[in-house]
């Protein structure tokens, strides 16, 4: 497997006030691959994910040390605009959150913000994003109707399409399937596998089977530490640490 580094993480620690949530995380996330983070609840994997697009900036009392580099650029450098970073590093959340507006406007919101397209071009961009997110055929006749009327699975694919609309390099996914039924989950997993040809996907999941199925690289978090990080095959078959072995075999967590 070719491994061009995309996100390089060095000595990252993170605090919520006085509670330390992450301890000295180091890893290199490869480009155009699916990287999965697994671990029990409260182990810091979501916190870490939100460090990569600086979503934790808004939290009072949050503090981070260490560096995260995106294609050799420190994301916390003073010259980096957080808006540009979040455009490059998109995010899909656990619960689908469509904006309370039409399906079309949901997808067009990002491109309009960043002035990427307008008129005909915007129409084409919306169609392309919805097609890439495997939603176009279901919604092409009702683009002007409310996004809130879609089913949960459709809403999540809409959110993925919305993330694609500002042409990111990296897509972060925070348990994107945990609120969905198995059928919708299956469709999103297929989608993720397809997305990795063009994007670097980093996904947090509680579903070990899912991590096994879709990821190329897996990181195992425990109590704020990165216990194990490597090719998924290795992590799931011959883990180096006993904690990992215990977790993936269901002995705790």
């Amino acid at each position: 497997m070719q491994t061009v580094p995309c996100v390089t993480v060095k000595n990252v620690s993170f605090w919520y006030g006085i509670n330390q949530a992450l301890f000295d995380i180091n890893m290199v996330i490869p480009q155009h691959a699916v990287t999965a983070f697994i671990g029990p609840s409260g182990c810091g994997k979501s916190t870490f994910l939100r460090c990569i697009n600086r979503m934790n900036d808004r939290i009072d009392g949050a503090k981070m040390t260490g560096t995260i580099q995106l294609n050799d650029q420190d994301i916390r450098d003073r010259t980096v605009s957080v808006e540009a970073l979040r455009r490059t590093v998109g995010m899909v959340f656990q619960k689908p959150v469509p904006f309370p507006m039409s399906i079309y406007d949901n997808i067009a919101f990002g491109p309009r913000t960043h002035r990427l397209a307008s008129g005909r071009m915007l129409d084409e961009l919306v169609e392309k994003c919805l097609t890439d997110a495997a939603l176009w055929d279901e919604v092409k006749d009702k683009l002007k109707s409310s996004a809130m009327a879609l089913s949960g699975g459709q809403q999540q694919r809409l959110c993925i399409a919305r993330t694609l609309s500002v042409s990111p390099d990296v897509i972060l996914m925070d348990e994107p399937c945990s609120a969905l039924d198995p059928n919708s989950t299956h469709r999103i997993e297929e989608l993720i596998t397809r997305l990795k040809t063009d994007y670097t996907v980093i996904i947090v999941t509680h579903n070990l089977q899912q991590a096994k199925r879709i990821s190329d690289v897996t990181g195992f978090f425990l109590r704020g530490e990165l216990v194990e990080f490597g090719p998924s095959e290795t992590v799931f078959t011959t883990p180096r640490r006993t904690e990992t072995d215990d977790y993936i075999n269901g002995r705790f967590g």
Binding site: R58, E83, R86, T88, F93, T113, M148, S165
Partner: protein
């Protein structure tokens, strides 16, 4: 099946349940009864002069029964318009500030607006009188009272109400909606303007309507500011308003005018009702989904 049998404990619970249900229901009915009685009383008393000429004529000193309150209606609407123009931008923008900032200043601002909210309306009227009308009247004898000053007094009263409601409604917008927008690289101001404010719009409109309804019935702040008028004058001079007209007619010695006071009150109520319905209609039509 033994668990499902009616034991004495269960019976006691059922009795208590029925008792509380009855008390709560009675109180709800009582509240509605009082409102209903007020409405019925207004209707039965006010309907006498509730005819077209009442809305199109000015007061008639020769034949009071032919008189109307056209100037009071127009005056009140003007005052409310001015109050809205003043309180909406200040109230909504400071509400946004309150919801979005967590510094010390925002606590101070919140405390002070609560104080402002608690100030008796007559004090607001006196305040506008003292800093605006009195100095002007001293330089230009016989002048100074104006609809603009009255509208400003009502606007000052509305600011804390609008601000509070905006603040609270914005806080109800889920964090997930913020996150979803920010994660697209949307700047904070754009997220607020295009995502969060629209999501809170219905609540804010309701709050603004309540504030408008409250100040539309205020008499005290108008006594010192708009003075009242028997004719339809410009907004820059003495202006009449429905609560002032109501007060004047209710305390009049003429039984016809006493009766017209009820019709005036009914008119005031109807205007608030129409404004509320209009606001609902407009927010619904304005929705993009």
């Amino acid at each position: 099946m033994t668990q499902l049998a009616k034991t004495p404990v269960l019976l006691q619970r059922r009795v208590m349940n029925a008792l509380f249900q009855a008390v709560c229901g009675l109180c709800a009915i009582l509240a509605i009864l009082i409102l209903g009685y007020v409405l019925w009383f207004l209707l039965s008393q006010g309907i006498t002069y509730f005819k077209p000429s009442f809305f199109t004529n000015l007061p008639d000193n020769v034949n009071p029964a032919l008189g109307g309150i056209k100037h009071s209606i127009i005056g009140s609407l003007n005052l409310l318009g001015i109050a809205l123009c003043i309180s909406l931008p200040i109230g909504i923008l400071s509400g946004v500030y309150q919801a979005e900032s967590s510094g010390k200043l925002s606590h101070v601002v919140r405390f002070l607006t609560d104080v402002l909210n608690g100030i008796p309306s007559i004090v607001v009227g006196l305040f506008v009188y003292a800093i605006w009308i009195l100095p002007y009247a001293l330089k230009h004898p016989g002048q100074g009272y104006s609809g603009i000053a009255g509208g400003t007094a009502l606007g000052i009263m509305m600011i804390p109400l609008v601000m509070r409601t905006t603040d609270e409604m914005l806080r109800l917008v889920p964090q997930s909606l913020w996150d979803a927008s920010l994660a697209l690289g949307t700047p904070r101001w754009r997220t607020m303007l295009l995502i969060v404010l629209p999501a809170a719009r219905n609540g804010i409109v309701t709050g603004v309507m309540l504030a408008l309804a409250r100040v539309s019935g205020e008499t005290a702040p108008l006594l010192f500011t708009v003075l009242g008028n028997e004719f339809l004058g410009p907004i820059t001079g003495p202006t009449d308003a429905l609560p002032l007209r109501l007060y004047k007619y209710a305390t009049s010695s003429d039984p016809v005018q006493n009766s017209m006071a009820w019709s005036t009150a009914l008119t005031l109520l109807l205007i608030i009702l129409i404004l509320s319905i209009l606001a609902r209609f407009l927010t619904r039509a304005g929705k993009r989904i």
